[in-house]
């Protein structure tokens, strides 16, 4: 199989372009001008004579029109059918499907609230559902177009904000309302379904560590799921998927309340960012199976094996964000990058030194995964790996994860979907990187040593070409300092 990449302007130097055999430019950096342009991608696929298209897990990955366009172009879409994407892609239709499959759902509006639904009607359904509630984009995902409302007075504003954000992010401003459970866990079940009627669930993933509704740490198995509950949740997930004739890889997301009751939340009709942890504990290559299933092959995995976890895996999403500045994105040129390796460590990275983290997309630069025989050992391994993960030139969330994994609540598994936001609020911006006087003195010594050991800095030239920029900028800084002694 020979991989072909498509890329936008700012991704010209991205790893997926450099590693592909063929690469096709599909437009400017803004997603709607490139990665969201269905015809541009179909066109590239035609040009290179591709047999199939893998949609990845962003942009058009859950877009039924794209899946249909690929199919209509006579190509294989490596994912579910457009019909399944459409059904489960609509949060409200998905809830109906779940209920038909006999799986409980979180109380909420049955029908989407299109932009023309009057405010008083929205207020009425809200009252029926009860507060606190969530306003969610029907086409939503990743916390975009989502607002929490505790006070009826804030409802109208929240709906407006959610609609505008949803419109920008998904081109669909329709929203719906959903009861907000108190302190629930986010537990999800990975599925593989083939075109011969087989749907197999995997051991659940625990994704409750979220910041502003975005997963930042995932692990499998979940401390909150007993074998009995696992059996119930995995078979419920499979039932929902079967009910809509689902094929290929997908994930059923549940909320698990404090009393151990679970509710269908939504389905992701694509591969997910956190799929590596399932691969680590199951030994199954999910992407290879996506391709085999798309080719019409039968899944010949042992169902019992898939819901028996072998060890424990944790994923940290390494973002180009400044955790000590309210997690603001930190785009720019990566000056140095050294990723950890060794036993049990897997780093699925899109970054290298010299690469620019673009401002246009989600700033995730890597998925760092640690596997070990049990959870405490997996945490210890992840801590070791984070301690070796060196990135300079941009800020990353590595120091945040180092802090999080040391928290007693995390280590004992006492958390829920709002745990992280609450802790962050209570920390009130206290830095994650805590230096000691000794460390600061060493830093001072190091800076002085660098100035002494690199006399060439005095010759540094501001007109150094772009490639040399980071170094040069640094030399200038030092040179200025030197000049002023």
């Amino acid at each position: 199989m020979s991989p072909v990449a498509v890329y936008s302007e700012c991704d010209r130097n991205a790893l997926h372009v450099r590693f592909a055999d063929e690469a096709y430019a599909i437009g400017p950096s803004a997603p709607r001008e490139s990665y969201l342009r269905i015809e541009a991608i179909i066109d590239a696929a035609r040009k290179c004579g591709a047999d199939g298209v893998h949609p990845g897990y962003g942009f058009l990955a859950e877009n039924e029109d794209f899946a249909a366009a690929v199919r209509d172009a006579g190509l294989t879409f490596i994912g579910p059918s457009p019909e399944a994407i459409e059904t489960m892609g609509s949060k409200t239709a998905a809830r109906t499907a779940a209920k038909r499959a006999g799986v409980p759902v979180v109380p909420g509006t049955e029908d989407p609230l299109s932009v023309d639904v009057p405010e008083d009607q929205i207020a009425a359904s809200a009252a029926a559902i009860g507060y606190p509630l969530l306003v969610k984009a029907v086409a939503g995902g990743g916390g975009k177009g989502m607002r929490t409302v505790a006070d009826p007075a804030d409802l109208a504003g929240a709906v407006r904000a959610a609609r505008s954000e949803a419109g920008t992010a998904f081109g669909d401003a329709t929203v719906y309302l959903e009861r907000r459970l108190t302190r629930p866990r986010h537990i999800e079940v990975q599925l593989l379904g083939d075109s011969h009627g087989t749907v197999l669930p995997f051991v659940e993933r625990e994704c409750s560590i979220q910041r502003r509704h975005q997963k930042v740490v995932e692990e499998t198995p979940s401390l909150a799921v007993s074998p009995a509950l696992r059996a119930a949740m995995t078979s419920a997930a499979a039932q929902v998927a079967k009910a809509v004739g689902y094929t290929n890889a997908g994930t059923i997301e549940f909320l698990l309340d404090e009393d151990g009751r679970f509710y269908f939340l939504e389905m992701n009709t694509r591969l997910q960012v956190e799929h590596p942890i399932t691969e680590m504990v199951s030994g199954v290559d999910l992407v290879r199976w996506q391709i085999r299933i798309a080719r019409g092959e039968r899944i010949d995995l042992d169902p019992a094996q898939l819901i028996r976890p072998s060890g424990h895996a944790i994923e940290c999403r390494i973002y180009a964000e400044d955790p000590d500045n309210n997690f603001l994105p930190s785009p720019g040129r990566i000056q140095q990058l050294r990723a950890p390796a060794g036993p049990g460590i897997r780093d699925d990275s899109g970054a290298t030194a010299g690469l620019d983290v673009p401002i246009f997309y989600d700033p995730m630069i890597s998925k760092l995964v640690a596997w070990a025989e049990d959870r405490p050992l997996a945490i210890a391994r992840m801590q070791r790996a984070l301690g070796e993960y060196l990135v300079t030139g941009i800020k990353t969330t590595v120091p945040f994860f180092a802090w999080l994994l040391a928290q007693p609540d995390f280590q004992s598994g006492r958390f829920h979907t709002t745990y992280l936001d609450e802790v962050l609020k209570s920390r009130n911006g206290r830095p994650f990187v805590e230096t000691t006087p000794a460390l600061e003195e060493l830093a001072a010594a190091a800076a002085a040593l660098e100035a002494v050991m690199s006399p060439s800095v005095l010759a540094a030239d501001a007109s150094a070409d772009r490639l040399e920029a980071p170094g040069a900028r640094r030399w200038q800084t030092l040179a200025r300092a030197e000049g002023l002694r």
């Binding site: 140095q336 002494v452 170094g471």
Partner: protein
């Protein structure tokens, strides 16, 4: 060579002297022997007092402009020979006195301006919402004060480092 290094709010006097087998580095009078080996353009491997091994990495922060020293993977911001003399004091780079100049930490689009000139604001009160990387990010006041100047309007795009507003 003598340097004045500001780090963690302290001003340290650092004197570096070459010795036969490395450097004598004195920080505020306390001298240690440092074996410093160049690994690459930015990384040094230090062995302090013939025992303690540390990788250090000295580079300028592209946004703030100040030097960031990574000790292992822990970043520590320092200024060498006086930010004052660089005339960078009012960069809003965390200074705790004088007017606060709120600058854009990254390029993006101003989606909301939550304060107007004359407003009294509290520490950590949201002032401006910038959209970048498809996420809306709140920029907050680092301390209480009065909004003296506003330099941006909703809907406009700004570059990293652009001055957004000033708090007296």
């Amino acid at each position: 060579m003598q340097y004045e290094v500001e780090v963690g709010g302290r001003l340290l006097q650092v004197v570096v002297t070459r010795t036969g087998d490395g450097f004598a580095v004195s920080v505020d009078g306390q001298t240690r022997h440092v074996d410093a080996a160049r690994i690459d353009g930015q990384m040094l491997s230090l062995i302090v007092d013939s025992v303690w091994s540390k990788e250090v990495n000295v580079a300028a922060d592209p946004v703030g402009g100040q030097l960031v020293v990574h000790i292992g993977t822990t970043p520590v911001a320092v200024t060498l020979n006086g930010r004052r003399r660089w005339g960078r004091k009012n960069d809003g780079a965390g200074t705790s006195s004088g007017p606060q100049r709120l600058v854009a930490p990254m390029p993006g689009k101003i989606v909301r301006v939550l304060a107007k000139a004359g407003d009294t604001v509290a520490a950590r009160q949201p002032l401006v919402v910038v959209e970048a990387m498809k996420m809306e990010n709140e920029l907050r006041a680092s301390r209480e004060g009065t909004v003296a100047e506003i330099h941006v309007a909703e809907g406009t795009s700004v570059e990293a480092g652009a001055l957004l507003l000033v708090i007296q």
